[in-house]
């Protein structure tokens, strides 16, 4: 049982290493798009948390 899990963890490490550096040219539009996506996701998470909290209360 330990072996498949260890293999999986090793494979994930390999994937992280293989794709550690983005290959796309970090031009201004690309940087802007990625920043906007991060802000968008944070906004959605805050919204969901807010909904979760008001539902509990």
């Amino acid at each position: 049982m330990a072996n498949p899990i260890r293999n999986l963890i090793n494979r994930i490490r390999e994937i992280n290493e293989k794709y550690s550096k983005p290959r796309i040219k970090m031009s201004r539009p690309v940087k802007f798009a990625l920043l906007a996506l991060r802000i968008y996701l944070i906004f959605l998470i805050i919204l969901l948390l807010y909904r979760f909290i008001i539902t509990i209360h």
Partner: protein
């Protein structure tokens, strides 16, 4: 030339028709019953919108020979790669739960117990790949796509009133622009493009082995699929607008049952169509996830492999289907909550998947001469921007239902 098109056609038609999944059919039926023929022009507008987004996946897949998940890992690094892969898997899993809800509800009309439906569906989906040939799988799925057009002959059985039907083709808001109308516009836009569609078609193009020279016919394939999806959506709206005007229905299965008391043949057609829509959705959505994991983990992940040659790919698909099926069978499972939650989770991935698609299609190193032209970019930015805004508002409306009245 026509035989070449027949050989290349498939991924576009399948993804577009499967877009009218159980959730999509439910949206159209409720829309038709509530707003009669007034949403027909919106459905027609959404055809080109879906085409413009999906056509980009054709170019990206045919040129890079990579699925969307692998392309994201490679271009944007592991953070965005893992985010997309895990979010896609969660969204797909929950969407397949909704497909099973649709299929069990549809077959329960004919007295089939949900347990039997779930078992038969899973066996059917897995048996389609026994041959280990992409072509065989594609032919079976295309036959299911043809069955999805069952709503079209049903329209001729209901005799819709001609004048209101034709006025539905003219852009107007006869019910005003109330909160409910806006909410349903967003719901219909939300069913047009889903994250799994982007991943599915790109992987499908790669698995089929389509190449740069095939792009022209693949575009035609996608355009034809977009026409089918619009025809099916409009037919569904027309049936419910004619037979259940102002009918207070919550889902397609209830609608089919009520239609059966008015016109039995049409009610049966609606139920069969709903089952077929759920089945197509489950087939394609489970594949989208399995392909994505196979690409990233480097497992053999082609429908041209049999089970022995690609165990990880098929086992993952089977687990997704079994897991989703079990959830539907659990007594008292929060199925309505899951149905609502799918919209919210999908919205966390959709903007990222579409933005990555657009950025990759602007990289000459990635797609060479097939990069987006200025006009394609302007159109794509307008469409993707609108989809993101409307889908986000729809998700917010789902989280806070009082927002749109």
């Amino acid at each position: 030339m026509f035989s070449l098109f027949l050989a290349i056609a498939g991924p576009g038609i399948i993804v577009m028709v499967a877009d009218n999944d159980a959730g999509g059919i439910t949206t159209y039926t409720v829309t038709g019953a509530l707003f009669l023929f007034s949403f027909i022009w919106i459905e027609i507008l959404l055809g080109p919108v879906a085409y413009i987004c999906q056509e980009m996946t054709v170019r990206l897949g045919a040129i890079t020979k990579r699925g969307h998940a692998e392309a994201i890992f490679d271009a944007f690094g592991s953070f965005w790669g893992w985010f997309s892969l895990l979010d896609l898997t969660l969204t797909d899993f929950l969407t397949i739960v909704t497909e099973f809800i649709g299929m069990t509800a549809a077959l329960s009309i004919f007295g089939v117990p949900p347990l039997i439906t779930v078992i038969v569906v899973i066996c059917l989906i897995m048996s389609m790949v026994i041959s280990g040939r992409y072509w065989t799988w594609e032919k079976i799925v295309l036959a299911l796509c043809a069955l999805n057009l069952i709503y079209v002959p049903a329209v001729f059985l209901v005799n819709p009133p001609l004048h209101p039907l034709l006025s539905g083709f003219i852009p107007a808001f006869p019910f005003g622009l109330t909160g409910t109308v806006i909410f349903f516009i967003m719901a219909n836009v939300g069913t047009t493009i889903a994250p799994w569609m982007i991943f599915f078609q790109q992987s499908s193009v790669v698995d089929k082995g389509l190449q740069e020279k095939d792009i022209k016919y693949s575009r035609l394939d996608t355009a034809l699929g977009a026409c089918f999806t619009v025809i099916c959506a409009v037919a569904c709206i027309v049936i419910f607008a004619t037979l259940l005007p102002k009918g207070n229905i919550q889902d397609a299965a209830t609608g089919a049952l009520r239609i059966m008391s008015v016109n039995r043949a049409v009610g049966i057609a609606v139920a069969i169509g709903l089952f077929d829509a759920g089945l197509l959705g489950a087939i394609c959505i489970s594949l989208a996830s399995s392909w994505a994991w196979g690409e990233v983990f480097g497992w053999p992940h082609s429908l041209n492999h049999n089970f022995k040659a690609a165990p990880g790919f098929y086992v993952l698909r089977l687990l997704i289907l079994i897991g989703a099926g079990i959830i539907v069978l659990i007594p008292g499972a929060p199925l309505i909550l899951i149905t609502l939650f799918v919209q919210v989770i999908a919205v966390t991935l959709l903007p990222a998947a579409l933005t990555f698609l657009l950025l990759l299609l602007n990289e000459e190193d990635v797609v060479g001469k097939h990069k987006n032209t200025k006009i394609q970019n302007i159109l794509a930015i307008i469409i993707i921007g609108s989809i993101i805004v409307l889908a986000t508002l729809y998700a917010i409306g789902t989280i806070f239902p009082s927002l749109f009245g």
